[in-house]
Every structure is written in structure tokens, then in C-alpha cells.
Symmetry: C2
Subunit: 360 residues, 2 copies
């Protein structure tokens, strides 16, 4: 099966499914390899990983699969220096850290790995597939990736962003709908906190670009995959569905918080990292909102809340964790990734058969 | 064609499409009749219409079609008396009214028609189909509608709401996704301002209830209809797509504002009526947000901003209008409703054929 055989064959996959890159430990080598070996595209979310460590992770994945996989970075453009006074935020965080028996961490001299070093590593490794979120790769990076024959996937949350990515030379575009969990890939919208839902976004991007479109946001099972294909997508990208899988590297407390939450309990918030992301609403997000407190710019807010979220995760205190997740929470299946892929294939076929037989 | 033949036949329609009830003048008798005569279900959004006027509108529709149609009310439960001090809001509105050359209206003694009188009219008219948003019909109203053989459609924005509607005895449930324009039907969620997208909401409601589910939110063409059917819906409800049609009764300035806006320029805001609704972001919504000003409770905020919005519409000043619309703005087609229905049918068939041929 498949509408866009050339596209899937270029990605080396049998089913039109990409396991989403997710920064923050979910994408273990075991998860990525299980997905690739099951016939879909596995992805490593590498934006917060130092280049050396990315290299080691690539080697670990390659030990588990000989299939191609995708590596994701955030586009550069974030503030490499903190240009605002952090004191009001440190004052806000102090009692929360105290609750956890910790001190507020010192403001680091650097809050993210250096993008240029990360990009250099990806180019040197001659990766078959890379993806970018939160903007465009610089032109020189695009040229060197293309010289390597790398397939480049961009991420758009609006039609304008999709057109900018197309002009930049990417080979396919993820249409990230509002339902998606984790960080918004937004980079050219006035309303990053008020995103467009998948049902509206995917067909508008399909109509605007000539590239294959990968729908994401709220897709949790075979019904969602067929729905995305009906909207004109060539494939889907699924994060939340794999985040709960056995191989996912997030702590047990994180998975439990996902399983305990309902579909209307997530919000799009910039309180954790300084950039908008969908996460479960909790005491932390409510308190930031109540105090009408501006987060530090990305990635500084992320650096200052990271240790709090980590300790809270270890202590199973979801009220101080950032539980990034999409809105399809009642459709979560905490099973091995390979079993999930089998189920998705079965469900897709059943859904297509049902449409075929019901509508003649 | 059709999965749920009994359901469609009960609604008297050939295609699985409902033209959404939209309060505020969009649903003219001409629009409703054009939809019914084209083989879909037309709807009258009647929450703001006094019972006498509803009666006259029903007669006008019946002159134009002998097909059944749907009449929608808001569930009761709003504040029939204003219990907060309106002065801060009146102070905020004063310069805006002054800009339009008007004075702030006096706080009326009543801000909505009396629900019981509206319900009495619908019961007396023995309507074949009615729908309710923002809650449940009172038990006595349910009993009397059922005694008449009326088919009752409820509106849910979460699974909990869908289950409450099912328990109340409705016959079908609209799953209103986040992409939808206009008022949220929400009545039992803590996060009415942070709604669940159609791609995630529809299948979760389908899984939870035994009733037919009608998907809405972001559905603008045949691709969206097939996508909704893939998610398990028995039909779709489309508002925005019909709001722009020739027969829609909103002013030309309103339609022009929709055609000028992009998909990422709407927000879910309670600033216009006191209840959350999706509308185009403008100077009014931004100013309310900047001043962190609480709207009066529904329907009092609605009553106090209504004249401003009306005059602004007549003067073509979108910055002071409430342009309620969904997120599928690039897919708008300002054509007659019957032409839209023909196009939807053609597109549905093409989409199903494409899925059939591409995925074997």
C-alpha cells in the first residue's frame, strides 16, 4: 500500500509512520531501533544533547538496527546569552526548589549545546535523514547536508512556515497540529500559544506546498493515520503514542502522570522552557499564570527549571514536572513499540476496509 | 453510501453533513432551506432569538423547504441577574463606544430570551430535530421533546461531557473540536479556554459512547469529511464553511474579515460574551488581555458588547467586531450553499477513491 511510494521508499519504511523525535530522554536507542525494525521511521530528538554524546547515541542505535533513522535538532536563533535579569524568576523558583530539598541552580554560562557543533557532527556522520524544528537550518548547513544526500524534514505550524521551509530547500514538511505534545515548532506566527489544529492545518499546508506533508498532532491509532491520509498527508508523525511505550526513556512517574490525566488537562504553556509547549497543567503552570510572571527567554527558562523537573520526576511529584504530552490521552497504550506498530497497521487496514464497505 | 444509514435516514439526509447552528444571524431561512434541499441537515441557531421571532423564522423556513431541519438552543444555567459590579467593564468599553460615536448601552434588565419560553415554543412546534449546546436540557424538557418524537443532539467538548449527554438521553453527540469557530459548547471542563482538537477528541468520544458521533472543528471540504468518518464519526457538522456562503446573513464586513485572516489569527477568548469562543484576534481582544480585565459573566458581557460589535460591523471596523470563525480560513469558499454541498459530495467521493486506489 501507499500513495507516495517514492517518499516512503526514500525514508526506507514500509508504513507511512514516523516515530516523533522527542527531546528529553524518551528516544532511547532501543525505542528508535524497535521502530525502525518494525517498518516505520525512528527518530532521535537531539537538541539538548552535546555532540560527543550524540555520536555515542548514533553508535548505540546502529548496533541495534541497520535501518535508516532520523535525527532532529532545533534550528539556531535562541539567545546564547541571558539578556534579562533572572532575579524575579529565581525568587519564584526558590520555594519550589526548597520544597524538593534543593537550592535554585546557578545561572549557567551556556544553556544549550552549540548548534554549529551539533550540525557539524550530523554532517560528518553523513546521516540519511535529519529534521529541524523551530525554524530553518542555516543555508551552509542545508548545502552540506544536501551534498551528503541527506533527506531533510522541516516542521511547520502554519502555512507561512511551510512555505518558508519549502523555499529553504527541505524535502518534506511536518504539519504540527495543535493537539501535539511537547514543544511547538513555531517560528513565524504571532500566536504560538494559540496553535492550529491538525484537521485544519494539514490540508491547508497540503494545498500550499508541493512537498510531501507529514501530519502530526492527536494521531494515536490507525483511525488517526487514515484520517491524516484523507487530509492529503503522505505520512504521519506520532509522538505521544510512542512516549508511553515500554522502550521510552522517560521516568515511570512521567508515564503514570500521562495515564492519570484526561484529554482536557493539557495546556500550551511557555512556563517550563520559555517557548510554548503542550504539557499537563499542574500547580507550577497555574502558579506562573496566577502571578502573571514572564518566563526567561528560551533556553534559559529551560535551564533554570530543568533540575526542579528532574528531581520532581524522581520523587514522583507531577505538580513540579513538565509532563509534555498530546491530547489523545485516553488512547495511550503502554506496550512495546513493535506491538504498537503491528496494532497501527492492523487498525489502518480495518479502517480502510470499513470506509470502503460503508461508502460505495 | 453511508456507514450509519439508520442515523442519516432518521435525520432525513442523503449526505453525512450538518450545517452548524450559528447564533447571530448567519442561519437565514434561505441558508437553512438551501442546505436541506441539497440533501444535508440545515440548522437554526436560536439561542438569542425571542420565542415569537423563532416561530416566525420556522414559518419562513417551512415556506422554502419541506425537509426536516434542526433548531439549536443554549442549555439554561447562565446568570439571569448580573451579580457583579459592571463599572470596570463599562469604563473599559466607554472609549470604544465613543470611537464609534455611540454611548455605552445601559445594563439591560434581561440579557437573553427566557430559556423556558424558548423550549416551550420548540416543544409546541413538535420539531423533528433539536440540538443543545453549553450543557444539558432540563429533564422535563427532555421528556416532553421525546414524547413528541424529537431527535435530540447534544454537544460535547470532552469525553466527560459526552457521557453526561448520553446519560441525559440525547440521540447523538456533536464532538466539538478546538478548531471550531464561535462559542465552545463546553459545560464540564476546567479548561474551556484550552480545548481538545478534533483529531484527538472525535475518536476518544467515539470510544466512550454508544451514540452516533458528529465530528466538528476544522472540517472544510470532502477531505475533512472523510477524515472525520475515518475517526469513527457518523457525520460531520460544518459551521465556518457555511458562514461564508452567499446565503449567510452576517454582514459583508464580517465575511471580508474572514477572507482577510490567516489560519493562525484566531484565538479562543471569553472577552466578547463572557464565555469562551473562537474568533479573530483583534485590537479589542488584545486590549482586554493587556489590561488583564475579567469580562462580565455570560450573557451580560455579550449584552454590553453587542451594540458595539453591531455598529463596528456596519462601519466595517473589524478591530471592534467579534468575527467568530474556525481555523480553516484558507479553505473558505464564498459560493451558494447548494454549490458547496455539491462540491463536498464530489470531494468526498474523490477522497474515498484516492484512499481506495492508493492503499491496497
Amino acid at each position: 500500500m501507499n500513495r507516495n511510494v517514492a517518499f516512503l521508499s526514500r525514508l526506507g519504511i514500509r508504513l507511512p509512520i514516523i516515530q516523533a523525535p522527542m527531546a528529553g530522554g524518551s528516544n532511547t536507542p532501543e525505542q528508535i531501533a524497535a521502530c525502525c525494525n518494525a517498518g516505520i521511521l525512528g527518530s532521535l530528538g537531539a537538541p539538548y544533547i552535546e555532540p560527543d554524546e550524540i555520536g555515542k547515541t548514533l553508535a548505540a542505535i546502529r548496533k541495534l538496527t541497520d535501518r535508516p533513522f532520523n535525527v532532529n535538532l532545533f534550528a539556531p536563533g535562541w539567545d546564547t546569552e541571558l539578556k534579562v535579569q533572572p532575579e524575579p524568576m529565581l525568587d519564584f523558583l526558590q520555594p519550589l526548589y526548597a520544597e524538593l530539598g534543593s537550592a535554585v541552580p546557578k545561572v549557567p554560562s551556556r544553556a544549550m549545546p552549540v548548534f554549529e557543533d551539533q550540525a557539524e557532527l550530523l554532517i560528518r556522520e553523513k546521516l540519511p535523514i535529519v529534521s529541524v524544528t523551530m525554524g530553518l537550518f542555516p543555508e551552509t548547513v542545508m548545502q552540506r547536508l544536501k551534498a551528503n544526500g541527506t533527506f531533510i524534514i522541516g516542521t511547520a505550524t502554519t502555512v507561512e512556515e511551510a512555505l518558508a521551509l519549502e523555499r529553504s530547500g527541505v524535502d518534506a514538511i511536518v504539519a504540527q497540529g495543535a493537539e501535539a505534545g511537547g514543544h511547538r515548532g513555531a517560528f513565524a506566527t504571532k500566536n504560538p500559544g494559540s496553535p492550529v489544529g491538525t484537521m485544519a492545518l494539514a490540508p491547508q499546508i497540503v494545498d500550499a506546498v508541493r512537498l510531501p506533508v507529514i501530519a502530526s498532532g492527536g494521531i494515536m491509532d490507525g483511525r488517526g493515520i487514515v484520517a491524516a491520509l484523507a487530509l492529503g498527508a503522505s505520512a504521519v508523525q506520532m509522538g505521544t503514542a510512542f512516549l508511553i511505550c515500554k522502550e521510552s526513556g522517560v521516568p515511570e512517574s512521567y508515564k503514570q502522570a500521562m495515564l492519570n490525566a484526561r484529554e482536557d488537562e493539557t495546556v500550551v504553556t511557555n512556563t517550563f522552557s520559555g517557548r510554548y509547549a503542550r504539557a499537563i497543567e499542574n500547580r507550577y503552570t497555574r502558579e506562573m499564570l496566577r502571578q502573571n510572571l514572564q518566563p526567561l527567554p528560551f533556553p534559559w527558562q529551560n535551564a533554570m527549571t530543568g533540575p526542579m523537573r528532574k528531581v520532581a520526576g524522581a520523587k514522583n511529584l507531577p505538580d513540579l514536572m513538565a509532563v509534555y504530552t498530546g491530547q489523545g490521552l485516553r488512547m495511550l497504550r503502554p506496550i512495546p513499540a513493535a506491538e504498537l506498530v503491528s496494532a497501527l497497521e492492523r487498525e489502518m487496514r480495518a479502517c480502510l476496509t470499513d470506509l470502503r464497505e460503508s461508502f460505495v
